[in-house]
């Protein structure tokens, strides 16, 4: 994908509302556009990283939204929806990246070292991310959306609820279930005993 595929904000907005109305084709077309936007944004953030700032998915997703919604005016209904799609694109971006990497897991506690740095950020290692991606495919579609929005998009519960058109409580419940499921898939070795200690 190159920047030639980028499109005007207006087009994204149009595709987006079509996608919301159930047009799968529109969704398929809007996703790559957002994907590319995110990738460009991530690259442009390197300087901030270099200055000691750790970038989180939330910021990228929201910045992508801001750029893409320029010119379409504020649209309260569109916002959570676009953010949700951006979250999905974010997941794709991170997974692709992890796949292209073949790094080892980070060392344990006895191998710490620093060179004048802030605290180390715990970030899923590439193979952990790939495991997570596979485990996500086993979830029911709504739970998967919730995880995308929360973990890959950093959306608030309310935003997720609006985007998926369910209650906040449902979002919360889906999250609790999905999170336990994913964790059990990510770290099966930690769950040797069938029941946790009290």
């Amino acid at each position: 994908m190159t920047s030639d595929h980028r499109s005007t904000p207006g087009e994204v907005t149009r595709l987006l509302s079509e996608a919301r109305d159930g047009d799968d084709l529109a969704l398929k077309r809007v996703l790559p556009l957002i994907y590319e936007e995110l990738r460009q944004l991530a690259r442009s953030q390197v300087r901030r990283e270099a200055q000691g700032h750790t970038l989180h998915a939330t910021e990228l997703v929201h910045e992508a939204y801001l750029k893409l919604s320029v010119g379409s005016g504020p649209d309260a209904k569109n916002r959570p929806h676009l953010l949700a799609i951006a979250s999905r694109a974010m997941r794709q971006l991170l997974v692709d990246h992890a796949r292209s990497r073949n790094a080892k897991k980070r060392g344990g506690e006895w191998q710490r070292t620093t060179l004048a740095d802030g605290p180390m950020i715990r970030e899923l290692a590439p193979e952990e991310l790939l495991t997570l991606d596979n485990a996500l495919k086993e979830l029911d579609p709504r739970q998967r959306r919730v995880v995308e929005c929360r973990f890959f998009g950093g959306l608030e519960e309310l935003e997720i609820a609006v985007a998926l058109d369910v209650s906040e409580r449902t979002v919360r419940r889906d999250w609790v279930k999905a999170r336990a499921w994913l964790y059990s898939r990510l770290y099966p070795e930690e769950l040797d005993q069938p029941t946790p200690e009290g």
């Binding site: 990738r39 991530a42 690259r43 390197v46 901030r48 990283e49 270099a50 200055q51 000691g52 700032h53 750790t54 970038l55 989180h56 998915a57 939330t58 974010m90 991170l94 990246h97 990497r101 790094a103 080892k104 060392g107 506690e109 006895w110 191998q111 710490r112 070292t113 620093t114 060179l115 004048a116 740095d117 802030g118 605290p119 180390m120 950020i121 715990r122 970030e123 899923l124 590439p126 086993e138 029911d140 929360r150 973990f151 890959f152 998009g153 950093g154 279930k177 999170r179 336990a180 499921w181 964790y183 059990s184 770290y187 930690e190 769950l191 069938p194 029941t195 946790p196 200690e197 009290g198």
Partner: protein
């Protein structure tokens, strides 16, 4: 997996999650009814839920993607071959690497800094020479540095494998002495660097590693400056909130302000590290405050000394782990909380506080002197840091408080008077005053001292023409210091001044002075001088007022024990000590312990004074207060009525104490919705008696107005109620100035009234004023502040601002849990409020959880019948809204007669 099966698993999982974790195993096998596979699947989810480390809860970091360019293992940078990535932080990626030119098999840590500017590149090349010259066995020096082929600077240093010093000491359960030994090694290394004119600038436990064999290595010497010279002193660009990655928890005030950095900054950071090694907690924490708040604390607040911090309870609502509790901290130091407290107090406190002073010039002038003081401590020699410590504090007090001119008359009252502070303590105020007068009369020196103080306080002698409380106290301090060789008199004076500060609402300073009195007596006479008992008593009260309930308990228990050791029949003072201990126990949620202590105190008082004596009756009143806290309102009321009638029969009863008893009875009638007309008459009598007898300056006068106001509210006369409550605030302000805890208290009462009567927006603004006063006087982590926040949460809730209310009550609970423990009536009440807020947010399950916890807490406390009823009432409301009529009915049956 079939989706029906999947759904079944999730259903059971959710159901079981609603129950307390202890019941999970039972509930699991019950729900699965022998289906082993199902049980295993659900078990796995439950286990995952319980063990989760939070990695999924924060949005994913995306630095991998952002860094764009990656250095794969096996690629070569300079003379080094990368082996693997070992860490990534704000400023690039660190790799394990080895020399690639085959000369040695040396393993190194190599850091690549992405996208550096030209300056940084030049600096890395220039300064690596200086830093590489720093040779010391405990310093992991910079070996090399340069620029990669594509222009990114890199730094190379020896690869160190080890644990951060704080983690190492805890893991190995090193005793205080062993910790000091390790710390001295650190000091040796820093001293070496300083002698070579290299300042570290970023000392923190993460930069001080200890290997499994106990070898200490300091990392990153000079690197902070190398990476960031343009910022001058400010290695921490703290004005930008997005730079949270660099937490300034170990940074000195001059560093966070961006001023010039010298070796003194390292000495400050060393002080913070030593603080943490000794006390198990950092002096300031960023955990729950914002960054600007932390910066403000670093620059302005005096932290509690390590001894006090070590026994304080700390941690947020979720994170009460044993490791952070006083017991856990003591255990990691191979001792008990009480012993740890005593070992730290005195020399070690003084050493740490001297290293951590705000002004660089007042710290140890070199690392060597700091090390020397620690060696002196270890050898039992006098420690330099303790000289002039109190002067330092007094001067700070003077510069901090540009206090408004308060009439000298108040000082007279404070110095000879000595009233308590909290309303419910009012009854003992007069007694304390009598005692104080006795004590003073007993000592000619003290009397003369006081007279002399006022003689010299003519306004004309004072710049600006007005004598302020502060002037007097300062003068008192100077005179007290001139009484060298008379430790008993000096100790008494320190106590009197502690009380004066307490009456001004300066609880922190009161605490320091009271502690000085104890230290002075101990230094002069050892630990069993008779003067020590009243001094410890005073210190205990000061700690309590300052909100350090755990420390207060330890000090008062020590006072109580001193009597036991001496044998003989208990003196009357012991009754006071036990009574105070009972009050502290209430704050800590030990209501039955409090009752036992008060009864012991009562027996001592009866033995010393007889039954019909003002002292004995006051202690009986204290017992009645405890009944009230226990929720045994009827017993409390009848006991107070007895105290009142017996006191009326005394010859010439003290007006303050007498009206205090009246107001207690009034309040109990109101709480139980008894005969409000009787309550009103009694309240009016109290107010009139006070007004005619001793005027509106009497502290109970305001209490009388407030109590009458609340009774009028219950009777439905809202207009008079509001007038009375406003009047109360005005008088408090006139007496104490705008910023005093008692003003905050009166303001909170009015605000509560407004919330109850449908004016939550006005209530909110008053609560905010009260909070401002709390923060400026007692500080954030005080139960009074927690009380204000809890009222504020209700006012916000009534305005429908549920999310704000939710977070405010959360902070309140956090403070209460940290200062008083989890299992207290106040926490139960807070949880009930939180549940109500969640219910209104339609988060029924969470509300249910909080109510269950509240119920569980009060079930363990004696006599909380009425509170039980209220919680069941809340359950009923919850289930009604939730559409669970059966559950509602079950609780409706338990609500009780009062509702």
């Amino acid at each position: 997996m079939a989706s029906e099966r999947r759904q079944r698993i999730e259903e059971i999982f959710e159901k079981i999650l609603e129950r307390p974790q202890a019941e999970w195993p039972g509930a699991l096998s019950e729900a699965c009814r022998g289906d082993g596979e199902l049980e295993a699947e659900v078990g796995k989810l439950l286990s995952a839920h319980a063990r989760m480390d939070g990695i999924l809860d924060k949005p994913s970091p995306v630095s991998e993607v952002a860094s764009g360019r990656m250095d794969r293992p096996d690629s070569v940078i300079g003379r080094y071959r990368l082996l693997k990535e070992i860490g990534k932080g704000g400023m690039g990626t660190v790799y394990l690497a080895e020399r690639a030119d085959g000369h040695f098999k040396q393993r190194v840590a190599l850091k690549v800094i992405p996208l550096a500017d030209e300056d940084l590149r030049a600096r890395v090349v220039a300064e690596r020479q200086i830093l590489a010259s720093l040779q010391h066995p405990n310093i992991s020096r910079l070996l090399d540095g340069g620029v990669t082929e594509d222009g990114r600077p890199f730094l190379v240093m020896g690869y160190v494998s080890g644990l951060p010093i704080d983690v190492y000491c805890d893991r190995m359960r090193l005793s205080l002495r062993e910790r000091l030994g390790v710390f001295l090694t650190v000091l040796g290394a820093v001293e070496h660097a300083h002698r070579n004119l290299v300042v570290h600038r970023d000392l923190k436990p993460a930069n001080i590693l200890v290997s499994p064999s106990g070898e200490v290595k300091l990392l990153d010497f000079g690197i902070a400056k190398l990476l960031n010279p343009n910022l001058g002193g400010a290695d921490f660009p703290v004005t930008r909130p997005e730079d949270r990655a660099l937490t300034p928890e170990y940074a000195s005030p001059e560093q966070v302000r961006g001023e010039v950095i010298t070796t003194a900054a390292d000495i400050y950071s060393l002080g913070v590290i030593l603080y943490q090694l000794l006390a198990g907690q950092r002096p300031y924490s960023i955990q729950d405050g914002s960054l600007p708040e932390l910066v403000k604390k670093i620059c302005e607040d005096d932290p509690s000394p390590p001894s006090a911090r070590a026994v304080e309870r700390d941690g947020s609502v979720e994170e009460i782990s044993r490791d952070a509790s006083p017991e856990g901290v003591a255990e990691a130091r191979d001792t008990t909380a009480a012993r740890l407290f005593r070992s730290l107090r005195g020399d070690l406190d003084a050493i740490v506080m001297k290293a951590m002073r705000k002004e660089p010039g007042r710290r140890y002038t070199s690392v060597e002197l700091l090390a020397q003081d620690i060696c002196h401590y270890l050898e039992g020699l006098p420690v330099g840091a303790r000289r002039g410590n109190r002067w330092y504090r007094i001067q700070k007090f003077a510069s901090r408080h540009r206090m408004g001119a308060v009439a000298a008359g108040i000082v007279a009252l404070s110095l000879v008077g000595g009233a308590g502070t909290a309303v419910w303590q009012a009854s003992i105020a007069a007694r304390e005053r009598d005692r104080a007068q006795d004590a003073l009369r007993g000592s000619e020196e003290v009397t003369e001292f006081l007279l002399g103080l006022f003689d010299s306080s003519h306004p004309d002698d004072t710049p600006g023409g007005t004598v302020t409380v502060l002037d007097l106290l300062r003068r008192g301090q100077q005179r007290a210091d001139s009484l060298v060789g008379e430790p008993v008199v000096r100790a008494r004076l320190l106590q009197v001044m502690a009380r004066a500060h307490q009456n001004l609402g300066q609880y922190g300073d009161a605490k320091g002075l009271a502690e000085d009195a104890v230290t002075l007596l101990e230094t002069e006479f050892g630990e069993d001088h008779p003067e020590l008992l009243p001094a410890l008593y005073r210190w205990g009260i000061a700690l309590k007022n300052h909100g350090q309930y755990d420390s207060a308990r330890i000090v008062l228990e020590r006072a109580a024990a001193s009597q036991d050791e001496n044998g003989g029949s208990p003196v009357a003072e012991m009754g006071d000590v036990l009574e105070e201990l009972a009050r502290v126990s209430i704050y800590l949620g030990d209501l039955s312990g409090a009752e036992g202590l008060a009864k012991r105190a009562l027996a001592i008082k009866e033995g010393s004074f007889g039954r019909e004596h003002s002292e004995t009756l006051s202690t009986l009143g204290a017992l009645a207060s405890i009944y009230r806290f226990q929720g045994r309102f009827e017993l409390a009321e009848s006991t107070f009525r007895e105290v009142l009638s017996r006191r009326r029969a005394l010859e010439n009863p003290d007006l303050t104490v007498l009206t205090g008893d009246m107001l207690q009875v009034v309040d109990l009638i109101r709480v139980q919705q008894g005969n409000l007309d009787e309550a009103e008459a009694l309240a009016r009598e109290a107010v009139t008696v006070l007004h005619d007898g001793s005027g509106i300056g009497n502290r109970n006068f305001v209490w009388g107005l407030t109590t009458l106001g609340v009774v009028r509210e219950a009777q439905g006369d809202l207009e008079e109620a509001e007038t009375l409550l406003n009047q109360a605030i005005d008088i408090r302000k006139r007496t104490y100035g705008d910023f005093h805890p008692l003003v905050a208290e009166a303001t909170g009462v009015l605000a509560g009234f407004l919330t109850r009567n449908g004016r939550p927006a006005e209530a909110e603004s008053f609560f905010r004023i009260a909070e401002e006063i709390d923060l400026q006087t007692v500080g954030r982590d005080h139960s009074r502040h927690a009380g204000t926040l809890s009222g504020l949460a209700l006012a916000l809730m009534e305005q429908g601002r549920l999310e704000e209310a939710d977070s405010v009550i959360g902070i309140s609970l956090q403070i209460r849990t940290a200062t008083q423990g989890r299992r207290t009536p106040n926490v139960a009440q807070g949880l009930a409020y939180l549940a109500e807020i969640r219910r209104r947010r339609d988060r029924f399950e969470e509300a249910e959880g909080f109510l269950s916890e509240a119920l569980e807490i009060v079930s363990d406390l004696p006599g909380q019948g009425t509170v039980h009823g209220r919680i069941h009432d809340a359950f009923v409301r919850l289930y009604d809204h939730w559409g669970k009529p059966e559950d509602a009915a079950r609780h409706r049956a338990l609500v009780g007669p009062n509702h």
